[in-house]
Every structure is written in C-alpha cells, then in structure tokens.
C-alpha cells in the first residue's frame, strides 16, 4: 500500500491538451452563465458553481473509459458537462424546464444521466460515497470491468459513512476511485478548522487503501494520477484514493458572503494557479495553438453556452401532471 504525494505526469499529445483546454473553458463559461441566470432570477434555490475546480473533473474524465461510472455532490454542473452530457439539458434543468435532464424536477443539485453513466447530483453531504461504492459493487458482481469515480468534498470527508465505506470497499476489493475534491472550504469552514489531520489522502491507510495527493490546478497531474488509480482499480486490486487539491473561486452557493477568506486569497489563486491559464500558456509556449486559435475556442464555447440558454428559456415548464409521475416505478 502506497500513500504519497504524486508528481509524475503523463505524456500527452498537443491535441489532447487542446481538448482539455476546450473542456475546462466550456465548464467555466457555462458556470459564469449559470451565475448570470441566477442573478436574473431564472435559476432558483441553491446553485453551487464549479469555477476554479475545472481541472479535476476534466483530468479524471480523460482517464476514464466508456462505461465507467461517476457520482458526485450538488456541485455537479462541471461533472455533467465533462461526462458528455448535453449543455442544453443541464441548463434547462437549472431553469426548471421540461427539457432538463430531470424534466425540471431535480434542479441544480439533482441531475442524472443513465446514458452517460452519471449517477447524480446528491444534496446530502457524503451520501454519494457509499452509493458510489455500491455502483462499484454492482460492477464487480457483474464482472464488467468498469470502475466508478466517486467524488466528494473535504467537508464530506468528515462524515462517518465515508469510513464505513472505505472499510467495505477495501474488504470486498471494490473497483471504486474515491476522489476528494479538496477545495479547502466546506461552506464557511476551512479544512484546518474542521479536520484534526489534514492529509485526507492518508485516511485510507488504516484500511489498506492506497492514496495520493494531487495538484488539482494542474490538469496533467490530475490525468496522471487518474491513470494510476484506474489501472489499480481495473486490475482488481480494490479501491484507490485521490485527494485533489483545488480551489473554488466563487462563494459556496450563489448567496454566500464568503467572509471567511480574503479577497486577496481568492485573487492570488486566480492569478497564480488558475488551471485554464496554465494550459493556455502551455499551448502558447509550446506553439500548439495561436492566440487566435484560443480566441476561436472561447468563442465557440460561448456560442454553445448561449444556445443552451436559449434552449433553457424556451423549453416550457413541466406539465402539471408531472407532479405525480416518477414516484414509483
């Protein structure tokens, strides 16, 4: 069992790098637009944006194979886009319209796609962790060679059910990758105020689960760690833990005053550690793309997002009879 901080990065082509750039930028543009629509009153309730954390899900999706599963918390828009779900359907769910992935009945926190093996979208902190191990249990049972990416936060990592799950996942050698998106805060509580021992990646040690700390602002580092985790799980060796160190730029949800950290702290992360800027400079300095190429990519992302907004506005509210459907199978 190895517990370590990862450093090695994968060898990837210029084309792959360009794709990471596109995917991360797409998520950011989508989330910025979701923030705008919230401001206009078109999205209600809670809306948790993923801005700043894009490299985590894009790097790990790059390590996944067709048929692998994923499950996450309420901070889920980025995961859905990275899993290949349609921005139109995600945006329309945010506006509570029938064209949304849950016909408007789930909202920002609760979207699912059987087709893309995306199992939600869960609002109760850490409840998705045993669910993710359960998906892996089903895969192992069916001997289908799939792995499940189970995402949760640094705050969620303190829930008891996480450790019950670690034990069983190790005991039964379930093909599950526990991805802890450590963005340093759980709502207004910094990790240091909630956690007696901050290295979450070591917490599987007691159960014999290998763990790695990964730089989540570096998509290549995430991809490399993802490859190792996937290889481990798919070869039948049981679960793997990735603690991906990242940062959320926005408040916890749309109306969080975020007084628990300074403006400078956020600004510093944005300016010095931004994952999209990082890839952008790799592309430019490696001469894999020109400024104009990157501008065109941004323009395209914005066009896709704008089209999703049109769709989300035009899609009608669900039929009133929908109140009574989908309660029982």
């Amino acid at each position: 069992m190895a517990v370590r901080k990862s450093t090695s990065k994968p060898n990837i082509s210029a084309n792959e790098l360009l794709n990471y750039y596109k995917d991360m930028l797409m998520i950011r543009r989508f989330e910025e637009k979701a923030g705008q629509l919230y401001g206009m009153g078109l999205i209600g309730g809670f809306c948790h944006l993923y801005i700043g954390q894009e490299a985590v899900v894009v790097g790990l999706e790059a390590a996944a194979e067709e048929g692998d599963k994923r499950i996450t918390s309420y901070r889920d828009h980025g995961h859905m886009l990275a899993a290949g779900m349609n921005p139109d359907g995600v945006m329309a769910e945010l506006t509570g319209r029938v064209g949304g992935y849950s016909k408007g009945k789930g909202g920002s926190m609760h979207m699912f796609s059987k087709e893309k093996h995306f199992y939600g979208g869960h609002g109760i902190v850490a409840a998705q962790v045993p669910l993710g191990a359960g998906l892996a249990f089903a895969d192992k049972y069916q001997e289908n060679g799939r792995v499940t990416f189970t995402y949760f936060g640094d705050g969620a990592a303190n829930q008891g059910q996480v450790y019950e799950t670690f034990n069983m996942a190790a005991l039964w050698e379930l093909p599950v990758i526990f991805v802890i998106e450590n963005n340093q805060y759980a709502m207004g509580t910094s990790q240091q105020r909630s956690t007696s021992s901050p290295d979450i990646y070591t917490r599987g040690a007691a159960f014999g689960i290998p763990g790695e700390a990964v730089d989540g602002m570096d998509v290549l580092a995430v991809k490399g760690a993802g490859d190792r985790a996937v290889k481990h799980c798919r070869s039948g060796k049981g679960p793997y833990i990735l603690e991906v160190k990242t940062y959320r730029y926005r408040g916890h949800s749309m109306s969080d005053p975020a007084k628990y950290r300074t403006r400078e702290e956020v600004q510093k992360m944005r300016e010095e550690r931004d994952a999209i800027e990082h890839v952008r400079s790799l592309l430019l300095t490696g001469k894999h793309a020109s400024e104009d190429d990157l501008k065109a990519i941004d323009k395209e992302a914005k066009a896709i997002v704008n089209a999703s907004v049109d769709f989300a506005k035009e899609s009608p509210e669900p039929d009133l009879d929908e109140l009574w459907t989908d309660i029982y199978a």
Binding site: G39, G45, S108, Q159, M187, L320, E322
Partner: protein, 461 residues
Amino acid sequence: MAIQILMPALSPTMEEGTLAKWLIKEGDIVASGDIIAEIETDKATMEFEAVDEGVIGKLLVAEGTKAVQVNAPIAMLLEEGERSDAVDIDVTVAVAQPVPSQMVEIEPASIAPAAPAESVMSSVLVGPDWPEGTPIKQQSVREALRDAMVEEMTSDPTVYLMGEEVGEYQGAYKVSQGLLEKFGNKRIIDTPITEHGFAGIAVGAAFGGLRPIVEFMTFNFAMQAMDQIINSAAKTLYMSGGQMGASIVFRGPNGAAARVGAQHSQDFAAWFAQIPGLKVAMPYSASDAKGLLKTAIRDPNPVIFLENEILYGRNFDVPVMDDFTVPFGKARIWREGRDVTIISFGIGMQHALEAAKKLAADGIEAEVIDLHTLRPIDYDTLISSVQKTNRCVTVEEGFPICSIGNHLSSVIMERAFDYLDAPVINCTGKDVPMPYAANLEKLALVTSVQVVSAVKSVIYR
C-alpha cells in the same frame, strides 16, 4: 457589439436594490472576475463581478441610486475598438455577478426581505401570553430565537450550542449571530459535517450533566443523526429506570424552503411526534419561538424544536420582559369563531390565518388554534373548540399519510364524535417529493385556498 450590464437579483425574491458604489469608471478596462460595483439590499452588501471583458463605455446609473430594479441596465460595456456614442442599446445583455461581501445568510430563501408586521396580528387574538400593559417590540423570528438562547445561556452555564457554521460564520441562517463573540468558543462550537457523530456527542454530554443545544443546519440533515435522536436521546431515561436522561434541544429549520428540491424541502413534524420520550415544539410567531425555545432549553427531556426558514425574517410582537416563557402542551387560540375550528402549527398557521381572513369576508367565522407543541398536544383546547363549532379542518405542510392531522382527526372522532356535523378534513402538502420546477413546487405545497375550500366543504357551502 456593446453589452449591457444589468442589475442582478441576489436571490430569486429580490426585486430592487441600491447601487451603493461604482468601483470602476468610464473608460476602465475590465476582465471577467473584476469587481465593478457594490450593491445593497436590505440585509447585504454584495460585490459584483464583471463576466465579459471590455471597456466601460458608460455608467447608466449613478452611485447612491436607490430602488434600482432588477434587470435594469446599469452600465454599458464596449468591446475593443468600439466607441460609446456608437452604442446600440438593444444588444447582448449581460448581468454582473453577485458576489456577496457582507453577512447575509447563505441560503437563498431567507434573503427575502422581512415581511412587514403580520396584519393578522391585529385581528381578534385571544390572550397574548403576556400580562396586559407589557411593552412590546417588533422582532423577527430569527432575533427572537437568538435572544432565547442568549438569555438561557446567560442564566445557565451548562447550556452550550454546537452545530455546523454556528460560530464563526454566525449561523447558516444567522440565528446564532453574535453568540460566538458573546460566549466564546467553549460554548459556541463549530462542528465538522458529521451529524451522527456530534448529535451522539451532545447526547453523551447531556448524560454527563450539560444542556446542549444542537443546531442542525436544516432538519433534512438530522436524518443522518436519527439513530442518536431516537435510540439514544429519547429512550435512555426509560431504559435506565429513570436514572439518567438527556436534557437536550435539537433545533433548526424544518419544512419546505424555496426551490431547493426534494432532499432539502420536507416537514418532519409527524415523524418526531411519533416518538415517546421526545418532546416536539413547532412555533409560528416570534414570541412563541422565543418563549417555547426557553422552555425547551430548561426541559429535562430531549426536545425537537422545529423552526422554519421562510418564517425567520418575519416580524411579530414580542413582549419586553425579563423572563418570558411559553409552556409546552398549551395551544393558543389566535382567533375566535363559531363556524369551524382550524387547527395548525408552524408555518401552517400562515395558511390557516390567511384562510380565516378570506372566510370572514364571506361571513364565515373560523376559530384558529395554534398547537405550539406536537408532543405534548393540548387536546382539551381542541376538543372544546370542536364541541362549539362542530366542524374541523387541520392544516400542515407535511405529507398526508400518517400526518398530525390524521392523528387529530382520530382523537376528535373518539372524544367528540357526537358533536361533529361533518368529517374532519386534513389539509397537507401533496404526497410527492418536493419538485424543483417553480410551477410544480407551488402545486406541491399546502395553500390558504385549499384551506378555504376545505372549510366550505365541512360547512356544506
């Protein structure tokens, strides 16, 4: 192409705000993420981020302007090389991003402006719980709850508060605002997100002689802690033959919030009310919130104290008294009437009182009773009311099956069968998980319209 920057909503319920300050001027270059203005609502000052990049062509609203409508254009953003006089107003529209900079509760529904003092308060109100001539003040439910905790913590050093974000963050819904400063971190304790764990620790601390107040950020998350509440807190007195029990309060918002979907919007009143060994209080007004919470903290038993997010910001009359308490097991008649008895509790009272007002306009006089506590229940008050009116409708937000109303109907049938001129009707939320879509959510909730039609049906009109 020029872009309009619009006044944003800071919550789905915000309609207007003050443009407090511009942080940029005409001609400045802005990029996505730059803070461009500060905007005030009645409770918060929010900073705004630009989303699009460009040059500020024109500020359309002067700083200091009050009552700027949401979605009104406040500035024009020009793209590279564009001139402000060339601006065509009807172009792409963008809204600056709200980034709150001062305290306001994190949860969207509670940012709704506090409603003015309840007009129903001035209708017939049987016996306020304070002596005549007591000075009163207007206070929100949120402030009343905080004052109750402050008073009890001041008088009893064994009382302490623990929960997620109760200290440094001042409470996710700001109920514990100022408490950390006042009592320090020995008594105001921020917990990790581990409901089952800290609920159990609090029950153990109660066995050990303390009087914990446990805040659940919302009662939806108390589901994680259900075992310690039911199997440890509620039963130990009985299992120990009376030797030891838990004097503990579990409190927090319960019931539907606004647009937060199925996992964050449900009323657990009937669940907890089923458990012997628990007491359950569910206040509607601010004075009841204060008086009942003080009683709950002093009670030697575990008390489930069900608050409501939508009610936190509402103002009511609260007596200015040294030690104002409201007893458990004593209902309050809010309005006397001869034609029908409407029984409710918590936010259901809002629908009950609204319905009574509409009914009065039709010449139907409803007697409206607030249960205050669901365990114990003041059966005598209900029964004598039903014996007078011969008709009864119950109102609650929870699910219809095995509801509080179902239980009341059964007791009324047993104890006042001969007095009933019509079957008792239970108005409840719909038998569905809470949907997100605005139109469906509206349909899922109990309404005063539903109560009015139930009353008309029991009086055969």
